[in-house]
Symmetry: C2
Subunit: 568 residues, 2 copies
């Protein structure tokens, strides 16, 4: 029987509730966004008593089909002041789904100075002291929790940045290998920190998800998994190169953020590529690995363990967005530096995209140097120390730019721009400006469509982005990783069928896409009420005025075209 | 013949243009706001190339009627991202009106590192180097400009804060006594700094304003001036106590900001009162004075020169808002400390209201102590040094609260709350939330109406605020100081008559009020386009949830009532 777990950190109260009829066929981002719209005052202080942090697996979470274990984390964003959903791989989505917990809600604010661990198991849930984890990095937090609860638990936790309620803070989610994945964007970690919850520990549930037609589901799941394995990209390239497989291609179209978004191509891009990543892993051996999975049953396995020259793990997983924002954007010509900075950002519990943007702006302000690991690491040290400078940086790109007086501040709607410069990939410019999530590539990345729609064209970007936003959001309602999209987009009926086999309710393909549409509508409604008005559907000014070498493009998609992407 | 002086700091170009027919009967805030709406891209970076700084005297500027020499300074606010008009006394309004310059526009951004002085005289206008003024405080800037141009010029200048483009920066305007008045709010000084203009120097024009009916005007002016002199408040109390005359009264209704807006009454309020100010001036002698005028021909003379114990000037003019925000709000029990901090804030070219709010928040963050002048002065020293902490503080209350992680951050719509806590003077809560200017008491202060509408009542505040906002805005279109309102509100026909004698065009009283209405509409239209949506018509959350001793009121005016105050 599905339940909602409601945790009031002010009262120290933990309640299991039934699921409202309205929410029965909502999951993942669809559920977190609808609940945020229904329960959170849009005008509230995102770090105050009226915000809520809502965690939900997808509708297909915990099932046997590949890549459905994503966990959605939603709230009013402390970074953008609009609605936010950030999702992550790891174990938590699968465990919550198996435990029949459709949503976990943290609400209220704790009494001054309280820090909790929320334990969830088959006997119920409870808040216990998290005092011995105070100030710890995410990695040490995880290892202490493993020592206390065993290595088979799923952990959702924050680092020092989340405890300090810094708006660049992420939420870490443990995976089957004992590594950390991140629901990184929008400052969700600051929202969790404001609830005084250092970690949520979910013990492995005894139960598993039920199926209306188990055999039907398993047969279709096998078919989809096989399609993923047969596709050269999802079957092979991800396993070798991970998401870094696109470095050269993004560089080739002139959209690779370079030296604080001054250039769209980087002379050392090749050194940062997935091919070099793979080569290093193979050459260096030791703990290094590629083809690592982050969710039970995922056949794509895009993860890696990136080793140093002696084969000792630096970080897992080194990904494209980090390579772009912390690599080329900061002028690093080698993956080792990127990996070390990545590890430090992870440990602080910060978003690597936001922090790459922050460090780029800080470099422009003269506080560090491009390609200089030591000066960048020193700035991250300021964040850990909680100095005033550290607080500025940890609060994200926008505040850093405002305080340091820098004019090239790569943001849209308050959030740092991810690894695709919107001037050379205009579909993503439309996305960053119009998505209720702001500058978030995961909400409908147009890079994969670069052969259908010219990334430099002013036309067709609106419809392209609209379409992508709807479809990706629908996937996120089901709990699917967006990398699993090829077989799903090719034959969307399989999603309807999976829902039927799982729940015994017939869905049409249109109804599946409607999950995306309805979610986007709910999000936009929340944003309007929160004061994030349509007039804010813009990128930072320099994207419109400063041509980007080598394409020398500016962002110039006409307003009429932009409007096509808006779902309301 | 009226002209518009347009200065493009990028091109170094200075052009005199004719006045558009539409603008002929606009002046002051009415003109700056309409021009900002017409000429400034609402979505622009307020510190970038597309913002403009527009300076305009009122329609009655330079005339013989008392208190009409205010100068309006408008732009897109770097602090609130909405439209801003801040006005000031001093000589500039009178000089520009006499020179027939209806508006002065600064546009573009200068080449990197350029700093200019704009000279304006009867021969024209020109940009010259301001390099020798770089980094200077406002007082030294003024004295250097007096040395160069003579003491009869009118100066409009910025301090180090404006040069650093800090969002709390003000614009200083010289007065007939060689003292500085301030167009303080909304970060207008940062906008001027972004134009690379350190100072505007206006030499005394040979001409004077023309009248359609000179005798009629002068007779009516004498009548109004006499009424002002016969009124005990404008005729006498302002001359002795200045604006500080209300300290005890605001304290009595429990609306005096105290210890970062924790309390509405201060045990040492009496020590900060206008009576003590007057007593100190009389007792200490020397340079101390009250009854000082800030504009040619003003009979109210609310200014003062506040002396130290040895009779040496500390600051001129020590005013109510500074006493509230820098005094009781920071726990100071004596005017001398307030005056010294005031002088330093003035010299930096910052807004005392914003900085009082900032220091209160910084004290809550543990960076200084209530009632401790040294630690507060040290924080102002950080701003002067341009340290990262200084930049945080200089950027205003909102950013300071966000960076330092403080939850009691007294703002509305991005701007620091002035000297009337909105919980105990609810009409001002309505004003701060609904005015296009955000938290700006000058846009329609309800304190003067406390005997008509109970300040604690949830009712009637909407209509009260609406009415005040319209009337005050109309006064600001004419160039009137709001302190001159008693005879004008009693018999509004005199304003229509003054316009007739000045311009030969018949206005009805309704048409005078319509100037206010149309201005407010233009401002709200700009804000909507700029993304400052109606959903942002709110105060900081703690005003709604934290009862304010001694009234123990929260801000609880219902939304329906709030809406009545909105002019659109």
């Amino acid at each position: 029987m599905d339940r909602v777990l409601r945790v009031n950190v002010k009262k120290g109260e933990v309640i299991f509730e039934g699921v409202k009829e309205d929410y029965r066929f909502l999951g993942g981002r669809g559920l977190t966004s609808k609940m945020v719209l229904d329960e959170v005052r849009p005008d509230c202080d995102p770090l105050g008593e009226f915000n809520k942090l809502i965690i939900a697996p997808g509708l297909l979470g915990g099932t046997a089909v590949s890549s459905t274990g994503r966990i959605s984390i939603g709230c009013k964003s402390p970074l953008t002041n609009g609605i936010k959903e950030a999702n992550s791989g790891g174990l938590a989505g699968t465990y919550l789904a198996r435990a029949g917990i459709k949503a976990l809600i943290l609400e209220g604010v704790p009494d001054e100075g309280k820090l909790y661990i929320l334990e969830v198991d088959d006997d119920g849930a409870r808040l216990v002291s998290g005092e011995d984890l105070r100030g710890l990095g995410t990695y040490e937090t995880l290892s202490k929790l493993y020592a206390k609860y065993g290595k088979d638990v799923a952990v959702i936790c924050i680092g020092p940045a989340g405890e300090m309620r810094l708006r660049g803070a992420s939420i870490a989610v443990s995976d089957p290998n004992g590594e950390l994945k991140f629901a990184a964007r929008g400052g969700v970690g600051a929202a969790m920190g404001s609830k005084g919850v250092k970690a949520i520990v979910i013990k492995p549930p005894k139960g598993s998800v039920s199926y209306y037609d188990r055999d039907g589901f398993l047969e279709l799941a096998r078919k989809i998994n096989k399609e993923l394995l047969d596709d050269p990209k999802t079957g092979d390239a991800y396993k070798k190169y991970g998401t870094a497989q696109i470095v050269n291609a993004v560089n080739a179209i002139g959209a690779l953020p370079t030296l604080n978004f001054r250039y769209g191509a980087f002379e050392h891009a090749k050194n940062l590529s997935g091919e070099i990543l793979y080569e290093n892993v193979v050459k260096r051996g030791g703990e290094g690995r590629t083809g690592v999975t982050c969710m039970p049953g995922c056949v794509i396995m895009c993860g890696n363990v990136y080793p140093d020259e002696n084969g000792r793990k630096i970080v897992s997983t080194l990904q494209y967005e980090t390579i772009a924002l912390v690599g080329s954007n900061l002028g690093f010509d080698n993956l080792d530096s990127v990996a070390r900075l990545n590890r430090e950002i992870n440990d602080l519990g910060l978003d690597t995209i936001e922090m790459g943007g922050v460090l780029g702006v800080a470099i422009d302000a003269g506080l560090a140097r491009f390609g200089d690991e030591k000066s960048c690491m020193a700035l991250l040290g300021e964040i850990r120390r909680g100095s005033v400078l550290g607080k500025v940086l940890g609060n994200g790109v926008k505040i850093t730019g405002e305080v340091l007086g820098v004019s090239r501040v790569p943001i849209a709607k308050g959030q740092g721009i991810p690894g695709y410069d919107p001037r050379s990939l205009k579909g993503n410019g439309v996305l960053y400006a119009t998505s209720p999530m702001g500058a978030d590539h995961t909400a409908g990345n147009a890079f994969g469509s670069r052969n259908e729609v010219n990334p430099l064209s002013r036309d067709k970007q609106g419809d392209l982005s609209r379409n992508l936003q709807i479809k990706i959001t629908a996937l996120e309602c089901l709990g699917f990783c967006i990398f699993a999209r090829p077989p799903l987009f090719k034959n969307p009926q399989v999603m309807a069928d999976l829902l039927y086999y799982r729940y015994g309710v017939k869905f049409t393909v249109d109804q599946v896409w409607e999950m995306g549409i309805n979610t986007l509508k709910a999000e936009r409604e929340f944003n309007k009420k929160a004061g994030v008005s349509p007039a804010q559907d813009k990128l930072a000014e320099f994207f419109y005025t400063e041509p980007l070498p080598p394409t020398n493009a500016v962002f110039d998609v006409p307003e009429e075209e932009m409007k096509k992407a808006i779902i309301e």
